[in-house]
């Protein structure tokens, strides 16, 4: 089972509530099922990898019968580990005996994180309706993302994991001419619905190659056109960072420009280096006076290009250390892992290093590997 692709099976919402009755809930806060909510009724619930657990989490790091949640004295949610192999954690601390779980605390079971909420049934119903709308919006955003490419002058694969139900990251690639491939990665300031709407507007323009009076094969022109169209003062104070490139399959050259974005990294087949590709310009929309510049890089056969958002490397480790880009770059050069895509390998590394409870920012990583 891959990270972030856990299949969730659950028991029905069996408890009978009036709309104003409050209930203890556990909400998944990571992965594709983020937002999925389980109600802990008066009889309590068990969590495990298979039935007869009440909450079934199809995660190989969850034991068949992993832990039990019950309502003890005065309606206090209490967690008991059932001799699980990998342990049960509350706010990062492994429990060894029945332990009270306060509202807001995060329960970690295998690779799953569940937050304790105390909600009225009315709130739950409203939240569920809102979640359905957000899920539709997320499906729309994901429908705009390109399919991985498995053959041709380069191959692509990617991972897109918004930290909230909607994110402001976006990326794309596609043919501009028989020998030119356009590719980009963008990151709107902030998260959530506003950032997602902003990124969708830009994505659709780039997908349609629809920037007015702009040579789409000139990265500096593209950034300048977007800067003119999306000033932050006219877009709820939002700006975005962007890396935009044109790969010429005939010359094996990449022409690129970046705006407020960290470099894309080119890693040769021997993985001896990670070469940053970046031009120094302010983010798109931040300053109408920005002058954008472009640069060119040769692409060696077999090299890989990594484009990603800052959520990939900006996180706090389990030791409380703020990670940054310079900490992440050496991870790019590590050997590939058989059976894992590069984006999945790096996501696993980051998840392993980061504090439990989910990443604070969107994780978006695109890898192109050239023939």
């Amino acid at each position: 089972m891959e990270d972030g692709q856990t299949r969730v099976m659950t028991f029905a919402r069996s408890a009978n509530f009036t709309l104003e009755d409050r209930a203890h809930c556990l909400e998944l806060i990571e992965g594709h099922d983020a937002g999925h909510r389980f109600i802990v009724g008066p009889a309590g619930v068990s969590i495990g990898r298979t039935a007869p657990a009440d909450i079934v989490l199809a995660d190989s790091e969850v034991s068949r019968s992993h832990c039990r949640l019950s309502l003890e004295n005065d309606n206090i949610l209490t967690v008991t580990d059932l001799n699980s192999t990998n342990g049960t954690f509350i706010d990062g601390v492994r429990i060894s005996h029945p332990t009270a779980m306060p509202v807001g605390a995060v329960l970690r079971v295998g690779r799953q994180s569940l937050k304790h909420e105390w909600r009225t049934h009315r709130e739950i119903l409203q939240h569920d309706e809102f979640d359905r709308d957000i899920a539709k919006a997320r499906s729309y955003v994901e429908a705009l993302l390109p399919h991985p490419i498995g053959e041709g002058p380069f191959k692509t694969e990617w991972l897109y994991e918004p930290c909230s139900k909607l994110g402001g990251d976006a990326f794309g690639y596609g043919a501009l001419s028989p020998t030119q491939i356009m590719l980009y990665m963008m990151d709107v300031s902030g998260h959530g619905a506003g950032a997602a709407l902003h990124s969708v507007a830009v994505m659709n323009l780039l997908r349609q190659r629809a920037l007015p009076n702009t040579d789409m094969s000139d990265p500096a022109q593209v950034l300048a056109a977007l800067n003119h169209m999306f000033p932050m003062q006219d877009h709820a104070g939002m700006y975005f960072t962007l890396w935009y490139g044109i790969y010429d399959t005939a010359s094996r050259q990449m022409r690129y420009a970046s705006a407020g974005h960290h470099p894309a990294f080119l890693v040769p087949p021997d993985r001896s280096r990670a070469i940053g590709l970046r031009t120094r310009c302010a983010p798109v929309g931040a300053d109408p006076g920005t002058r954008f510049s472009a640069a060119t890089a040769d692409i060696p056969p077999g090299a890989s290009l990594y484009l990603f958002s800052d959520g990939v490397f900006e996180f706090v480790t389990r030791d409380g250390v703020e990670w940054g880009l310079n900490d992440f770059i050496p991870r790019l050069q590590r050997p590939r892992v058989e059976g894992l895509t590069e984006s999945r390998r790096l996501f696993r590394e980051v998840r392993r290093l980061a504090q439990p409870g989910g990443l604070d920012d969107d994780f978006t990583l695109l890898v192109l590997t050239f023939d």
Partner: protein
């Protein structure tokens, strides 16, 4: 996230402490703007206590600088820690807001 402000002569001095991420900006943004923009004074912002600068923090700094500029004032940052300095450099933020290495240099730039 914490914020303090006072005056150094005719210059407003604002000190930010903590993580300037989405949660930090939520806490401090209104007070930050209110401390700087209404009187239109030249302002220096001490970043030495900022442990992390995210895109929402950059957005707050740019928006406030713009609003102050419309009132004729200038804003200069100083004291960025190495991690925050890297973020500022990556975003080319200094193309929009000057960054000084010390308080005295910042005062010199707005003076």
């Amino acid at each position: 996230m914490e914020m303090r402000h006072d005056n150094v002569g005719d210059v407003r001095r604002v000190v930010l402490v903590g993580r300037l991420d989405t949660a930090g900006v939520d806490v401090v943004e209104t007070r930050f703007g209110a401390a700087i923009v209404p009187n239109g004074k030249n302002t220096i912002v001490d970043l030495s206590g900022v442990t992390f600068l995210a895109s929402m923090g950059i957005r707050m700094l740019i928006s406030t600088t713009r609003a102050l500029s419309r009132k004729g004032g200038r804003l200069v940052m100083f004291g960025a820690t190495p991690g925050v300095h890297d973020v500022i450099e990556t975003a080319a933020l200094t193309d929009i807001i000057p960054l000084a290495s010390s308080e005295n240099d910042a005062l010199g730039l707005v003076g």
